[in-house]
Symmetry: C2
Amino acid sequence: MTYWYEDIALGSPYPLGAHTFSEEEIVAFAAEFDPQYFHIDKEAARHSHFGSLIASGWHTVCVGHRIMVDTLFTQADLLRAKGETPGVTGPSPGVNKMVFKAPVRAGDTISYALTVRQKRPSQSLPGWGVLITAIEAHNQHGALVYHAEVVGFSKQRDFRPNLTQRLLIALGGLPGLGRIVRGR
Amino acid sequence: MTYWYEDIALGSPYPLGAHTFSEEEIVAFAAEFDPQYFHIDKEAARHSHFGSLIASGWHTVCVGHRIMVDTLFTQADLLRAKGETPGVTGPSPGVNKMVFKAPVRAGDTISYALTVRQKRPSQSLPGWGVLITAIEAHNQHGALVYHAEVVGFSKQRDFRPNLTQRLLIALGGLPGLGRIVRGR
């Protein structure tokens, strides 16, 4: 979310938007990243476990990610338009759990939503908070097709660093040494 | 793996192959699925937490998936060339854990490997086994950039269904009713 860590509310689903998966894009994505026959060959897919062409699970995930990023950008623009300074989201260290519940077929419209389940100040990144976020995707029939628990970072607006933290943050901003201090 | 469930050995890392990430493909993937500035804007990325352009984590994941699928296809072809019938891998129900440890930068060569950690007969799909597989990706300096624990299905070669299972499998093969029996 582009809210500051302190402002992020827990437990309320936040709708991100929807996407209709065309046959063409299902095949195009799979041809590049997941060329199994039930993702790229409409005819052969009829005889598969699923009975029709289905999107690669990674396609469902990537489209959801794009929709989330777009929503965060729009949200930040809206905050700026109101004269507020949007919060800062950091890179994700990973995903705790990812479950594919039902296939996504050509023509399906998938709606994505995000719910922040937990938050706590980060130990490793002073001034940041760690968010545990649930992503849920439903199709046009209301069936859950995919859900995941994603870990993210969000900046603390009211962070007051102590002397050691101030030193590390200052060093982290330097070009060469900074990379060592940041551990990257 | 394109080995039958019974033949799958636990614990040995299986190298899948490597991929060098170009700046162009990092930007192209991110423009479609993850348009955050540190994935698409080389100049702005210099001032990011990472100090340079980095690949979207989903890009790292998707390239690894493609390399795995290609390896499975090649392995199946080799088995056929030897006159053997390759095993059958099913769709993945999900991922247990996914961790991004270090950024992937333009020019990095990432090597992927797969290790089957656990296997057991599936309760929900008679005749199939469930595999818990570790995917690990290292860069050219030997640093682990990404690891995941993926759940997969693999067919049992020596499966002898009982009467109920034979009936369900037969019904599952029918066009209309099959979809209901298979629960999809």
